[in-house]
Symmetry: C2
Subunit: 308 residues, 2 copies
């Protein structure tokens, strides 16, 4: 660690130095551990190595479509054992924000969800009644005279709209969400994450940010975002896990979300892996556009392969 | 016309002066002539009076969901006879923009439509093949492996995405539109109109602008807007009708679109009617937020009622 630029993990010595520098590793998932349903090389072995070394592992994803319980199943499908309390999704971070920051009261305050089950499941576990979300009545074409969400008026107990990626986005969902957002300050506006796109299988599809953008435009309101790189997410993790930031390393495949998250969160270090959307050239670039990582590697599995 | 402030049409003299000042009247429709399916008082009589006086009447709407032909039918349903060439919708203005400014060539260049039939019908009349739009295959849930719009690759003949209000907005439409927008400069990005909301029956629903905002966010691109208050719309009308701007009056119910349109387009005058979303207080307000109208009236029908 004698240079200021990013250090490439490509020798046993550097890999060992990397392992020794941190007690806790925070991992982005897609692009780091797997690509969609395809586990990347030596991931299982790397995570086993870290566990053996007594490191704490935390998994941090901006994907709000799945709950933490669903993520556990996904890990299990790859033969990796992970417990729910190791997983932080942007949907969970949004629920924590609603509970701890907005102080919504379970049993009294309700939440209108624009998004998939990963949001309402987490809110439900905290005791909040959720409206909207995956309710199949929202799949029906919108008619304000017959929408079951409008005919009897809005639910006055709704105190918050939580919005995220919704692949079932439609005019019915947008129109009713807007009615709640028009209630003004009484109803808070929370966005799971700002990512405008959602890379998948070589395509770039619309992300949470571009679903939320529509609501932000129609309502004229700006949501509070809870996912990476927003510090709401990191504060949630640090406080839940009682972490010493200087001994934490954020591992990710995106400079502008993952690496920024680690740098702005003043974590001890960051590792960029090149199995996602970034290149070595971008990793080494000196620019105002994005922060530079402390370490970078062709793939996360190199940490295991170089030290075995 | 001795004061600088807006003049209220509330006497026979002022109404007569208003009529004498202009040869051509440009009317916004919803909120001016009708509210949804309800014709406002004395509208038929006012339009008949203007016709008798030899005035030219032009109807200008930001609603892109209906074609000019559909608007003719709507006028006819109120017993008002209007020809297609008197009507300018934002969908038609977008088609004119694609033809006259982007110089798209019918038979060779195609257009991907995100929006309702009012856009593709107008483009079709000009000879452009449209993809997307109301194609019922886009109503199916999105799967990039089976979407008929992606399995064989994008259509290389598509040179433009025209986007407007789409009450059938869904992830399939957003995702495929985004693939075309990702082609960069080769594929132009045109938005029908910027209105973020769509007032209807006492509700405020999402408008074209908030549908387009989602595509703008995911693509990182800014569309060219063709509807009011953009001058593309006015230039289209002025050139089609060979108008003398100094003898034209824009009549509308919104300060920020209709009245701005008339003022920035350097028309001879503007008339704000209070049957839509504005109040007398707003009409008289001196502010940087919106321009002031030259004339205002409780309702357009007052022009007839005061002079009969």
């Amino acid at each position: 660690m004698t240079t200021d630029g990013p250090i490439k993990i490509e020798s046993k010595g550097v890999a060992q130095e990397f392992l020794d520098s941190f007690d806790t590793f925070l991992f982005d998932c897609d692009g780091v551990l797997w690509l969609g349903t395809h586990l990347l090389p030596s991931i299982r072995e790397t995570l086993e190595l870290l566990n053996k070394l007594g490191k704490q592992l935390v998994f941090v994803t901006n994907n709000s479509t799945k709950s933490r319980a669903s993520y556990c199943k996904k890990f299990a499908s790859f033969g990796i054992s992970v417990t729910e309390d190791q997983i932080f999704t942007s949907g969970y971070a949004s629920a924590v924000y609603a509970r701890d920051f907005l102080k919504l009261e379970p049993g009294r305050d309700k939440v209108w969800v624009f998004g998939e089950s990963g949001i309402s499941e987490e809110l439900g576990l905290m005791g909040y009644e959720c409206l909207g979300g995956t309710d199949p009545r929202l799949d029906e074409p919108f008619d304000h005279k017959s929408s079951p969400f409008l005919v009897d008026g809005l639910d006055p107990a709704v105190r918050c709209v939580v919005a995220g990626l919704d692949t079932k986005i439609n005019y019915h969902r947008l129109a009713v969400s807007l009615q709640y957002l028009q209630q003004g300050e009484k109803v808070h506006f929370v966005g799971t994450n700002v990512d405008s796109t959602f890379p998948q299988k070589g395509f770039i599809f619309p992300g949470a940010g571009s679903c939320i953008a529509s609501l932000a435009c129609s309502s004229g309101r700006t949501p509070t975002y809870c996912g990476k790189p927003n510090m709401n997410m990191l504060n949630t993790i640090v406080s839940a896990k009682k972490l010493d930031r200087s001994r934490c390393c954020m591992v990710g495949d995106r400079l502008n979300t993952d690496i920024r998250f680690g740098v702005e969160g003043k974590l001890g270090g960051t590792l960029l892996v090149l199995t996602g959307i970034e290149t070595e050239e971008r990793a080494l670039e000196v620019t105002q556009e994005h922060p530079r990582p402390r370490f970078y590697a062709e793939k996360l599995g190199d940490v295991y392969e170089l030290t075995r």
